[in-house]
């Protein structure tokens, strides 16, 4: 694999510590994520996956160490990030249409007053990129789990981010919806970096270029290196590891794992 010039680093952690009420959550985290990688962040519950995501989003401040996102402190680059939360947390009775939800991705940038026609067009484009434009006037509550997930992706895409961050995208989504989701992600990955938090190890599969294992400490593995003994290290006991297939990534077999297109 001929490697061209080193790709830009979009996220870097240097010796980062973070604790909640004196309880250490992350210790000495060193991490580099490059432009247009698709990274899986895995680890046990309470291991610090979500904390890592929040540090990148600038919602939390580290106790020690340095975090740069697009070369700047996280709270100054958050406008370049698109965040997709778990879809399960929403009130299923909330009265909004699909387009309303996507427009919320622009509410931080639009001024006071109703949305302009131009912003509505932007939202419709985002909706089209997840194949749901035909659903724009439908009630968000009526959609299936997989469709809601895609609407939330469109909401994150509306503000044209350079990186997407996903929290548990496949939780409570059936297999075919999961496949559809990864098809969309693969398309988006040509334009932007994608970070996916997941405890669904089976799903961190051939789409992902490398895996960040988080359990207080952070280790980076290319997908092909993710074998049984790593999982035992991570979770502390033997778990049955089910791989959906054995296609290993041919790209990036070093710890730094740059992906060249």
């Amino acid at each position: 694999m001929p490697s061209s010039a080193p790709p830009d680093i979009v996220v870097s952690f240097e010796q980062v510590d973070f604790s909640y009420n004196g309880e250490p959550v992350l210790l000495d985290v060193n991490l580099q994520i490059h432009d247009r990688e698709m990274i899986g962040i895995i680890g046990p519950n309470g291991g610090g996956k979500t904390t890592l995501l929040r540090l990148i989003l600038g919602q939390l401040k580290p106790d020690r160490g340095k975090i740069l996102v697009f070369g700047q402190p996280p709270d100054r680059s958050s406008h370049r990030l698109g965040y997709v939360p778990q879809h399960m947390q929403f009130d299923s009775n909330f009265p909004v249409s699909v387009l309303d939800v996507v427009l919320m991705g622009l509410a931080g940038k639009s001024g006071p007053g109703p949305f302009s026609g131009k912003l509505k067009k932007t939202a419709e484009l985002a909706l089209a990129s997840v194949d749901l434009l035909a659903y724009r006037t439908r009630s968000f509550a009526e959609l299936s789990g997989g469709q809601r997930q895609r609407v939330l992706i469109a909401r994150a895409l509306a503000s044209s981010p350079d990186m997407l961050l996903f929290d548990e995208p496949t939780a409570n989504v059936d297999t075919s919806a999961g496949e559809k989701l990864y098809e969309i992600l693969e398309n988006l990955n040509r334009k932007m970096t994608i970070l996916i938090v997941s405890h669904d190890i089976g799903f961190v599969n051939h789409h992902i270029s490398s895996v960040v294992c988080v359990n207080q400490r952070v280790h980076v593995h290319p997908t092909s290196q993710l074998a049984g003994h790593n999982i035992i290290d991570l979770y502390g006991h033997d778990m049955s590891l089910i791989r959906h297939d054995h296609r290993c990534s041919i790209k990036g077999h070093s710890t730094n794992a740059p992906v060249s297109d």
Binding site: F94, P95, A107, G108, P114
Partner: protein, 278 residues
């Protein structure tokens, strides 16, 4: 009904009552819809009960000290806004349990009110009208303040609806996408406070929560978008206040309680319609 219409042309107090009901309905439908979808009825309840403190203090100083500019309605407005700011501060910053804060605001406000009312002449009469509302006692000055509050609410909601909707639906995402959630939450709580003040005039402190939530909840059963829910809730509130006023007039029933019963019947009706449509 006929007697009401005849008297309506004759008596100013009845015209004021009708106008108060109409203006309160506008605020009630709009803000009530946000409160209902955000499940914040309990916050509205705490602010409502806290207004007793403001009314008690204002009543005491205007009657005993001759500060006539301080009407109970002004006192209620100030107390409600103060309560909203305290709750907003707790909601945004401190790690205190919201439930505890609300109970404290609720009870302390009432306690202050009861102490001041007991030191003011005409104790029983005032307390009853504060608690259960007296829409027939609204003065022309009150009416002006109510109109001003309504106007402020409508303008704020027109300009900030997108942001208010975003923080109502998903506060975390709103914060990440650059919306100043703490600021908008504070504005939102002040909107609740102003609405509560309007509704206290109509149905009294104790029944505010019913009028804030019943028309909005009923409207929510038949609509799929928030603006539509608001419009329908305003309409249902109008029916409740006007209908309640008319029904209560001849048999001399308490207007506030009658209005709430009408709102409850509309809620039942809408629930039935929702079932029927499926």
């Amino acid at each position: 009904m006929l007697q009401f219409l005849i008297d309506l042309q004759q008596f100013r107090f009845l015209q004021y009552a009708l106008l108060t009901g109409i203006m309160a309905s506008i605020a009630c439908g709009i803000v009530g819809s946000y409160v209902t979808v955000r499940r914040m009825t309990y916050i509205a309840g705490a602010i409502a009960h806290c207004t007793l403190g403001g009314m008690g203090v204002a009543g005491y100083f205007s009657k005993e000290q001759g500060w006539t500019f301080l009407t109970p309605l002004t006192g209620a407005t100030l107390a409600a806004l103060l309560a909203a700011l305290i709750i907003a501060y707790m909601l945004n910053r401190a790690s205190m349990r919201l439930d505890t804060v609300l109970s404290a605001v609720w009870a302390i406000g009432m306690a202050i009110g009861i102490i001041f009312i007991s030191k003011t002449g005409g104790y029983n009469e005032d307390l009853m009208s504060y608690l259960f509302g007296d829409i027939l006692m609204v003065s022309d000055r009150d009416l002006l303040l109510i109109a001003a509050l309504d106007l402020i609410l409508a303008v704020v909601v027109f300009f900030l609806h997108n942001q208010l909707l975003a923080i109502s639906f998903d506060e975390e995402f709103a914060r990440i996408s650059g919306i100043r959630v703490a600021l908008y939450n504070t504005v939102f709580l002040c909107l609740i406070a102003l609405t509560v003040v309007l509704l206290v005039q109509v149905v009294g402190i104790i029944l505010v929560v019913a009028l804030l939530s019943l028309p909005a909840a009923a409207a929510g059963k038949l609509t799929v978008r928030l603006p539509a829910m608001m419009l329908l809730a305003v309409f249902l509130s109008l029916i409740s206040t006007t209908g309640g006023l008319i029904i209560s007039y001849v048999p001399n029933l308490p207007a506030g309680a009658t209005i709430v019963i009408v709102a409850a019947l509309l809620y039942l009706g809408c629930s039935f319609l929702e079932k029927f449509r499926r």
